[in-house]
Symmetry: C2
Subunit: 349 residues, 2 copies
């Protein structure tokens, strides 16, 4: 096929450009469809409660490696990642649908382990599994999760509402899931080279846990409600802080100043980064899969948030023309590039 | 993995047993979740309007063969099949989410063709594309579609309401998509054997069209509304009539008598079945992917439906203990087995 036709490599567009490109001709036709493609999730209005819906794919050897991911954790993590998209709209997750394609090399017990993980996550987050599909696949394992939630219209937070002067905040700590992945990849290589070796994960519990069993921050969404905070913009950190900063800045038409010394990095993440000869800041800025939340608040909300132990203010929003900048520990200003991590050369630390 | 553990082949359970097995431990926790797994779609109640939601996977070389399925038709058909699940609850389809995993062997233009087909179907059925995900895959093409629709609670039809004495009806005609597939498979084999041959699809337009570009019967759902009919049970025919009869009989706890001479079979389907030395009744009973609707009506609705040219009454519901039977053209009674088509040996026709 396509022998005589124009060919463009898909990789040229990147994921976000690709979706924009493919869906630019689609128009919204139904009055209940409030928001289509382009944010963390779509919005379907139902009187005053709005429904939030999002779908994601998890593909073997693209998103996960069965060599070191226990299948129960895989099931759990797929739900976490999908619920995280609902949190990223400041909504309460309520239902999921899960479809799995699996090759015949897997026994039934493998599927059972995946579903045990899905169930543990559904129980943890209080969501119902309401549907799905199973199919054989020619090779490998593929999981598709659609997650749904609800929010009152006035509480829904998109990527697009950040204003100049707003505080930039993150939940939890950053870079842990990425450093956990590095440890797991290293131990996999050791295992391939020497089959009788047991993986050495001693002292890496925290970061390996961050990689294998991340949590969606529904507690932060609940905290917003308790503190009567509605962030001006909100996104979950699935692809790395730098990438998410770019999304919010683009959708909100603002710039940001981020302070390197404010980035929340766990000691375990920090030490492991040093062990891998990687600047901890790089892990925090560019490591994905932490599923923490990045959000902006008006400065008037400072008093409400200042005592939240699990939220860190890392910078503030500027005018769009000021760009996206990292202020290093020594005070140097480093512009963040579109793929910040590729170009960012951190100083000695 | 699993070297030392009990292993059960997934194929032993079959698709429906598998889903039941994997999800039996899940409990419904949210008050808005009205119906979880087990019907054509889940139900989420929203005041008096209920939301219907369903998700399906389409996997290369499991559900489709790129050798003879044009990609635009593939995109169209995935939407059709998903919308058909919404029709099967007597609901109006309104939104879809589409995720696609695709290997790097495909150029961007391939994805564009798929999305052209998706758009054509969205336009045809009046549904909005509201989300999705794209990912690379290690091999092949995989499409996951989640479809949503709405219905008033009183109009929702499940598989479970058929009563003894009800009329058994189907829309359109049966077996065409299956015979179209046989023709395409034959021409593929000819092409593999002799590369310079062009496929010979002359006179097969109708059945090849049934296979490549099926339609969801939203017009039948609209007809129900116009005629003020609410079927007692309803399912779409995606896996073959016999299989769907078993689903309705199981969920409604009834039996059925089906009359062979009432089965609606197009002349093109009939002639091609004969050409392939296959009884046309086998194609009609067991050929999948027609996406017609199978439904039951109380006899009191007979006058409303009798003039509908596109609906055929093919039998009636009996008590469960009477089983599921096909009355042959010569009056013989043939019990339908769980996989009716494997055991059914039709008479000479």
């Amino acid at each position: 096929m396509f022998e005589n036709k124009e060919k463009t490599e898909i990789s040229k567009l990147g994921e976000f450009g690709l979706i924009d490109h493919l869906t630019k001709k689609f128009e919204i036709k139904n009055e209940h469809t409030t928001l289509g493609i382009g944010d963390d999730a779509a919005i379907i209005n139902q009187n005053n409660m709005h429904q939030i819906i999002s779908t994601d794919l998890y593909i073997e050897n693209v998103h996960f490696d069965i060599m070191y991911v226990p299948l129960m954790h895989l099931g759990y993590k797929c739900i976490t990642a999908s619920i995280s998209d609902i949190c990223a709209m400041n909504a309460d997750a309520s239902q999921v649908l899960v479809s799995i394609a699996i090759s015949s090399k897997y026994p039934l017990e493998a599927l059972e382990e995946i579903y045990d993980g899905i169930k543990a996550a559904c129980d943890k987050y209080g969501v119902d599994l309401v549907g799905g599909d199973t199919s054989s696949s020619v090779s490998g394992l593929m999981i598709s999760v659609t997650a749904m939630g609800y929010a009152e219209e006035k509480n829904i937070v998109k990527r697009s509402g950040a204003k100049e002067g707003d505080l930039v905040c993150v939940s939890g700590d950053l870079g842990g899931a990425y450093m956990g992945l590095q440890v797991l990849e290293r131990e996999k290589q050791v295992f391939i080279d020497q089959k009788d070796m047991q993986p050495d994960l001693e002292g890496k519990d925290y970061i390996v846990g961050r990689q294998l069993r991340p949590e969606a921050r529904i507690d932060i969404v609940e905290m917003f409600e308790e503190l009567k905070i509605v962030p001006t913009s909100l996104i979950d950190i699935s692809d790395g802080l730098a990438s998410e900063i770019f999304h919010i800045c683009k959708h909100s038409n603002v710039g940001m100043k981020i302070y390197e010394d404010k980035l929340p990095i766990d000691q375990n993440t920090y030490d492991t980064a040093i062990e891998f000869n990687m600047p901890p800041t790089t892990a925090a800025m560019n490591g994905g899969e932490d599923y923490e939340l990045l959000f902006t608040l008006p400065q008037s909300d400072y008093d409400k948030i200042k005592n939240s132990l699990d939220v860190t203010i890392i910078g503030y929003c500027t005018a769009a023309h000021e760009g996206k900048e990292l202020i290093s520990k020594s005070g140097n200003v480093v512009p963040l590039e579109a793929q910040g991590w590729e170009n960012y050369k951190p100083e000695e630390d």
